[in-house]
Symmetry: C2
Subunit: 460 residues, 2 copies
């Protein structure tokens, strides 16, 4: 069954149509995704745009909205009795389509025909940038576009119309996101409980899978569960936890409705931080709490990011690792040695919401452009915040030996960085704290039940 | 680190080269596989042929064996310092290549150049049938082959040479398969423990994920955990277990080395079968035990399949559901109403081993051809068994309402099926029992520690 009512889906499509003038809108639902041969597939994940406008969670479908003739059509092939022996009885495509307010369905093979004819008649065909190669090659073949040009020729008008809709979460969407965060909360409470010397990272991962999957959902993204938090995208789970280390857990559930949670906590193994770790943790927590408190409609997320980076830098100065004027240091990008990533990103049906549509079209605007400076250029969300936006706030401090060595050898920012003092922090790893924040009419709120993060509770 | 020694990989490639005369052998390693946008990927799964011959478990690699010049080359791109900030320090491609006995590595973009030049010089290029569309379109583009023809033009010679090697498992491969079965065993013991009324299928799935992932591996295939065992490929996990039902669990671990286990057990909810269920269970267990006992070098698996189907049919006759001469019934395919699938398939690095290379080239031979009869045509393995083969033995009995209704309305095989008596079994669902079997010099053995399946233990 679709997550929301028929009215929700017809309203969303109506609001989409109002933003676009003419032509055809093409939506690819996803196909199954093979692991090691055609019939052994990963768990099916429907395309998020398809889910948002059509709500049907089954592989092999696509849809067209014909703006000129006011048609909405779902394309797909009904199961045969042979299929049903293997898959069990299923709702027909027309039954599913009617649950989301669509009355016309056609066989899959008719999609190419419709689109190729429309293309020959010089009608506008709006498509989205494909992120799976089967769709890329379909577009390339149907419209005779070089595969290298397919993404670039995707419809900006169509993308912007979707971004406008999906950026503002409705109350019923927020309910789903709260569910995702609350499942993620259970995962983090479990991780904290398991954060003892002798435990292997993969055992923690297994226990978190039990929760995400046991609740009828999935992981929203491959979790990071590591004592090497300084490696930002670490998907290795082979280390055994030792006293004195910090376990960084960046793990979020995808609710059964496919809305994502994205939560990070950093736990001391065996329950207590070293003094150095405690200083770093407190700095990160202050930056996170301040950033959340500062979020409100009208402020740009770029400002929130810069202010959080300043908090981190001030903390690092107190530790003796940075020196000089921290406003100047952050302006020039010296802090990025310790936090080379952005403060956060939109979240919704995707953990990096709508990233398939293009980061800049989602996170930036005519008024706020992306920086090219190391660190700041990795900020995915920069634009002015509006009521209904949901995004992550996730400052962190990392000691990345490979990066430190390069900067030190170049004497980079030596007016702001005390490389001698820094050497004492070299093995500390990384500490990050992350929550999911909703912009309300007057301010912001962290969604879901609170997930412990105070020093006192984390050190239990 | 590769699973096996350098010698193992160089030997495998040497034995491969000996079977082929000239030209280039192309191996695609796998790329990351996107879920809902380019950078949010499923857990990486390396291609099994690449793993078998090159052992490197990292995305974005490919390899060529040049038979004419005796070159072995791995293609891939080294990480930049920017990558290392995100991924942490990693072995270089040349370091990894040298661990598996390859001395030459080149940048990825040089692969197309090498192959296109070789193609222009009319050299033979042997490639395998691609199962991921990015590789299909690469081949289509490089060699100017219509995408519809790519699979058909794959090299039969190359496929057959690989099948010859991979079909016979070495002792070190069997050790890895035993590990996979032993992890799967823990999963099934856990499932049995949880098989109580009130539990939701997804909770069982979560608990099994904890084990598969906690042991550092994965699932070898999407598990079936269902009270609707009559649906053969059931990936729905939303039902709550009730007394009187049977929970069918078809779940196998992939060991960290990527070798697969594939085990099925059928548990009574709350520990006791109904009389009908007990009769069906006993019949399936007898068929499974007999089939395993009959496996030995020289006998065809088609014979084993037919004999197991006869055991099932005889049991169904004892229950009053079938009637007449059961040899005749099985010969004509009447039993397939109750078991429409084959008795088993090869297993190894893939759960359906080498299925990407083509089912018939793996499971059949010049002497043993695939049947076209309903039921028998789904048998993936038919050929004569040889020492070192590992495969599944997995008989089952299912009551599939949709199929029963069609057959009954057509009066199909009414001389062998008592549709009146059958109606009393209609809601029973499905029961399957599956183990993984190795052909030894004189017979066969179930691999791994025994996983309980006797009626007495299953009903505890």
């Amino acid at each position: 069954m679709p997550t929301f009512s028929k009215q929700t889906y017809t309203d969303r499509r109506e609001r989409l149509r109002q933003q676009l003038s003419d032509g055809l809108l093409l939506f690819f639902g996803n196909e199954e995704s093979p692991m090691n041969y055609t019939d052994n597939c990963y768990p099916f994940r429907q395309d998020s745009n398809f889910l948002y406008f059509f709500g049907i969670d089954r592989p092999g479908l696509s849809a067209v909205i014909d703006l000129d003739n006011n048609h909405e059509i779902i394309f797909g092939d009904e199961l045969t009795i042979t299929d049903i022996v293997w898959t069990g009885p299923q709702a027909t495509i027309s039954e599913m389509a009617s649950q989301v307010g669509i009355n016309e369905t056609r066989a899959s093979k008719q999609l190419a025909e419709l689109l190729i004819n429309a293309d020959k008649s010089d009608r506008s065909i709006h498509y989205l940038p494909p992120y799976r190669s089967n769709n890329l090659f379909k577009i390339s073949g149907w419209f005779d576009i070089s595969s290298r040009k397919v993404n670039e020729l995707a419809s900006k008008e169509f993308i912007k119309a979707i971004v406008t809709l999906r950026s503002h979460k409705s109350p019923e969407e927020i309910d789903e996101m709260v569910k995702a965060v609350n499942i993620s909360r259970k995962m983090h409470l479990k991780a904290q409980e398991m954060c003892l010397s002798g435990v292997i990272e993969s055992q923690v991962s297994g226990a978190l899978h039990e929760i995400a999957i046991g609740e009828g959902g999935q992981f929203a993204y491959p979790p990071i569960i590591t004592i090497n938090g300084q490696t930002l995208h670490n998907h290795h789970y082979g280390n055994t936890l030792k006293k004195g280390q910090v376990l960084l857990v960046d793990a979020g559930a995808e609710a059964p409705s496919h809305y994502a949670g994205d939560i990070t906590r950093s736990f001391p193994v065996d329950g207590s931080f070293t003094n150095q770790q405690r200083e770093v943790y407190s700095t990160v927590l202050t930056a996170e709490n301040n950033a959340i408190a500062n979020c409100k409609p009208g402020i740009t997320y770029k400002e929130i990011h810069e202010s959080a980076m300043l908090d981190l830098a001030e903390g690092l100065k107190d530790m003796g690792v940075m020196k000089g004027d921290m406003s100047e240091a952050v302006e020039q990008g010296a802090h990025a040695l310790f936090c080379p990533h952005g403060l956060g990103h939109m979240i919704g049906l995707d953990v990096h919401d709508m990233e398939d549509l293009g980061e800049d079209l989602v996170g930036y605007s005519n008024e706020v452009k992306r920086s090219e400076q190391f660190g700041k250029k990795s900020l995915r969300l920069g634009r002015s915040l509006e009521e209904g936006f949901v995004f992550t706030v996730e400052p962190g401090i990392y000691f990345i030996p490979e990066l430190i060595d390069i900067w030190q050898s170049e004497n980079k920012f030596k007016e702001f960085i005390d490389y001698g003092a820094l050497s004492k922090f070299r093995g500390l790893g990384g500490i990050r704290i992350e929550d999911n924040v909703l912009i309300t009419a007057n301010g912001s709120q962290v969604i879901g039940e609170p997930i412990p993060k105070s020093l006192k509770v984390i050190e239990q």
